[in-house]
């Protein structure tokens, strides 16, 4: 009997580890992002040619009203580089408490700033070989990041309380794992910054299929 209990106990633990929590995967119908908001007649004067923006994915996340989320991704740190007169990556998602630095990889000055309510900052002008200050994002919301010198440069950083988020690939595909069973809102911020959502049910050990479109 003790041997049976022990085997059963470890089997249940193993089962829990293997089949713990659920996941959601699917496709978001990507739209087109707005053109950069620049002053009329804005003609960037750069030493080297301006390179194109990277593809803009959608941000997908799972949330539930009133839920206290685990802070599993609050210590994450991302580097948002300025290279070829563009922010790379152009879209970032972080959990509240996470941080970012903004290394300048170009030969000229950049001046990274944001006037968005969740996080206002201005890093001033700094060069390629200078260390970028670290910016911590404590409040949830969309932080729109720009360069004061090169108006066409832009980065969208979404700060979320939930740790269950992902970026889509170029086809809009995503997968988010480690979600406890329950009913949630699945949301996506499209390249146009529009939000689409649907209700999903997550079951332990299963992957829920979902599609999001405007």
């Amino acid at each position: 009997m003790p041997r049976f209990t022990l085997v059963t106990f470890f089997s249940l633990i193993l089962c829990r580890l293997v089949m713990a929590d659920g996941a959601v995967s699917g496709v978001v119908a990507l739209d087109v992002q707005r053109p950069p908001s620049v002053q009329p007649g804005y003609k960037p004067q750069t030493v080297k040619p301006i390179q194109g923006e990277d593809d803009t994915p959608a941000i997908v996340w799972v949330e539930k009203a009133g839920m206290t989320y685990p802070k599993t991704r609050a210590k994450e740190h991302v580097k948002i580089e300025q290279e070829g007169y563009q922010f790379r990556p152009p879209v970032v998602v972080l959990q509240t408490g996470a941080s970012a630095t903004f290394p300048n990889m170009d030969e000229e000055f950049h001046n990274v700033f944001s006037y968005s309510k969740p996080r206002r900052f201005d890093l001033g002008r700094f060069r390629k070989d200078e260390k970028s200050p670290s910016v911590v994002f404590e409040k949830p919301g969309l932080v729109k990041i720009y360069c004061e010198i090169h108006q066409h440069m832009r980065c969208r950083l979404l700060v979320l309380d939930t740790p269950w988020f992902a970026l889509t690939d170029a086809q809009g595909r995503f997968k988010i794992s480690g979600i406890p069973a329950g009913e949630y809102q699945l949301k996506a911020m499209l390249p146009s910054e529009k939000i689409v959502q649907s209700t999903i049910t997550i079951s332990d050990g299963k992957t829920t299929a979902a599609q999001l479109a405007r």
Partner: protein, 401 residues
């Protein structure tokens, strides 16, 4: 004026709250082809300015009121036609090109030009139309959104007792500063951005840039003289600037300008056998800029010689150093020291005007990427008995769309 101020604030209130509206408006006013080669963009600035000046007011402010309210709407149209062609128009409605010069309101086409980029690189560009001068380094930050202050530096706004509409006797020059009430007949070294009409060639390489222009009016000429169609080309003026950027932090330049500055209406008062076109303004200048971290610093020094009928050549040297320090995310503090020195009246040891200085202090804050507010205080002093105001307070709210 109170009614105008009240109505302006009433109209502005929903705009200040509607950030999303401003972004949508900005987007709606842009039309672009799929490949971005063709683009039309309408944009603008709404400025609400309030000046409280001690009489006579400092700089290019023309009013007897203790409080002067100046609302301004600036509309800009930009057309991009392939990478090589560009056109720009700027129209303004306000109470004068400089506040108070048209107190009942005025709408003008201040700037318009067509630009052609000859090569893939920026080495050779050509421009024709009515546009800001290439002289100096202040004009790139002349619009309210880019200027850390509300007013222009003294070299671009301080009225000198040089008269451009008539030849006056020599005896009147030295004492002219005592009559600031006739200041509207005077001119500064450079009248604001000096949007005279003409053509220019300009370009840049990695470390060097240049601009050469031919225009229809001198640097000091008043806005009424800038229109080439209306005023012709009798006062052809040649100006230019050469710049050097040894590193990202540093920017150096040297500028020149030469051309007749008297208005045609001064001809009947000219000495016998002389034309108003015989009297030139010749100006040389150097400028430097530095930027790093939260700091931006600019400095200019220029010397200008006016050939004055019945007097001879009189020289003024003027300069300023301007520093902007960002304080946190969206706030800045800016300070500017302006100084002017005057030479002697030809054949005498008497200065033709009084040396003076002006200190400008400004605090600015950007509420969003479309809305900003500024406060400025200026104090000025001249040697000797001073009959002009020494203090100016100003406030400005700007909405960009």
């Amino acid at each position: 004026m109170k009614h105008l101020l009240f109505i302006s604030l009433l109209l502005l209130a929903p705009i200040l709250k509607g950030q999303e509206f401003l972004e949508s408006l900005d987007e709606a006013l842009t039309v672009s082809s799929a490949d971005g080669e063709w683009r039309a963009d309408v944009s603008g600035l709404i400025d609400l300015e309030l000046y409280a000046a001690e009489m006579q007011p400092l700089g290019l402010l023309e009013t007897d009121d203790e409080l002067f309210f100046n609302p301004r709407l600036t509309l800009m149209l930009d057309l991009q036609m392939t990478e090589h062609w560009r056109a720009h128009m700027q129209m303004r409605t306000d109470r004068g090109f400089d506040p108070g010069f048209a107190p009942d309101g005025q709408t003008r086409l201040d700037e318009y030009f067509v630009e052609w980029k000859a090569l893939e690189s920026d080495l050779i560009n050509m421009r024709a139309g009515k546009f800001a001068t290439a002289f100096g380094a202040w004009t790139p930050r002349r619009l309210s959104w880019d200027n850390p202050f509300i007013t222009a530096p003294a070299a671009y706004s301080d009225m000198l007792p040089v008269v451009d509409n008539a030849a006056r006797p020599l005896a009147g020059l030295a004492g002219r500063r005592n009559n600031p009430e006739i200041r509207n007949t005077w001119v500064p070294i450079i009248w604001g951005p000096s949007y005279a009409t003409g053509a220019s060639i300009f370009g840049r390489t990695e470390h060097l840039d240049y601009a050469l222009e031919v225009k229809n009016a001198a640097l000091s000429s008043r806005p009424g003289a800038w229109d080439g169609v209306q005023n012709g080309w009798d006062s052809t003026t040649y100006s230019g600037r050469f710049g050097w950027r040894p590193a990202a932090e540093w920017n150096f330049g040297t500028s020149f300008s030469h051309g007749p500055y008297l208005l045609e209406e001064s001809q009947p008062t000219m000495p016998a056998g002389r034309s108003y076109r015989d009297y030139d303004q010749t100006t040389f200048g150097v400028d430097a800029g530095y930027a790093h971290g939260p700091w931006q610093i600019w400095a200019e020094l220029m010397t200008s010689r006016f050939e004055v009928p019945n007097v001879g050549g009189v020289r003024v040297t003027s300069g300023f150093i301007e520093a902007k320090r960002k304080l946190g995310a969206a706030t800045w503090l800016a300070a500017r020291w302006n100084q002017s020195w005057f030479g002697d009246i030809p054949g005498t040891s008497r200065e033709w005007d009084r040396d003076g200085w002006r200190f400008d202090l400004a605090l600015g804050h950007r509420l969003t990427r479309q809305i900003q507010a500024k406060l400025q205080y200026s104090i000025a002093e001249r040697t000797g008995h001073d009959q002009e105001g020494d203090h100016l307070f100003a406030g400005q709210i700007t909405v960009r769309f």
